[in-house]
Symmetry: C2
Subunit: 139 residues, 2 copies
Amino acid sequence: MTERCVFCEGEGGRTVWRDARCRVVVADEAFPGFCRVIWKAHVREMTDLDAIDRDHLMRVVWATEAALRARVAPDKMNLASLGNVTPHLHWHVVPRFTDDSHFPQPVWGARQRDAAPRALPPDFADDLARDLRRAIDGA
Amino acid sequence: MTERCVFCEGEGGRTVWRDARCRVVVADEAFPGFCRVIWKAHVREMTDLDAIDRDHLMRVVWATEAALRARVAPDKMNLASLGNVTPHLHWHVVPRFTDDSHFPQPVWGARQRDAAPRALPPDFADDLARDLRRAIDGA
């Protein structure tokens, strides 16, 4: 990297799964269950990865989506890889609810209503970590 | 589907590639080169597809990203599958420029500046169609 990068310098959230290539973090966002899947190396675009690494990263994204759907039963899942602010490859994996603060806007869009983020069980991150180990590592 | 769906009832843009499972359209949006990859069946989430279909859809997304990068040389690519408004599986594949109207916000975020969309060559869609046939079909 040529400039300071938050995903090179820090975890970007509470890490619930990792391997040598990427990690899953629960983000500190006002949307409960908002996770990010962050590629370890400072790579810019999905098409900068080779096909094997791309498939690996997406397998982790799908596992994260599946675990979140099972744990929090969202009305919709939102997936995005933008990187305009932090051009270090990462995926937003966001459970959405029709009564959340921004629905049906993306979480980056205009707020639609006052809505307190719904509470997650206190052991949500530990449960998600176990889900991901099981789904990805078969452990 | 249980309600009317724009992606069941219409193409959703100018179709530049299709097969039996999905299509790529150039969208009518104020971001030149904005494409969508639309799954044909009315499916809601990526994890509602089986792994083979998921891989196929993403292979088309990567081919679209690669073709757009080669054709319009964006500063950043943005990828998103949201579906809050239209819960019919589709990917936004959006070339972004640091001087476009919304950068670094997502295209769904707050406008940052007045900026006319940059012009694309008149045969852009035909060229993209040829790129995709070559990349995906080997034709």
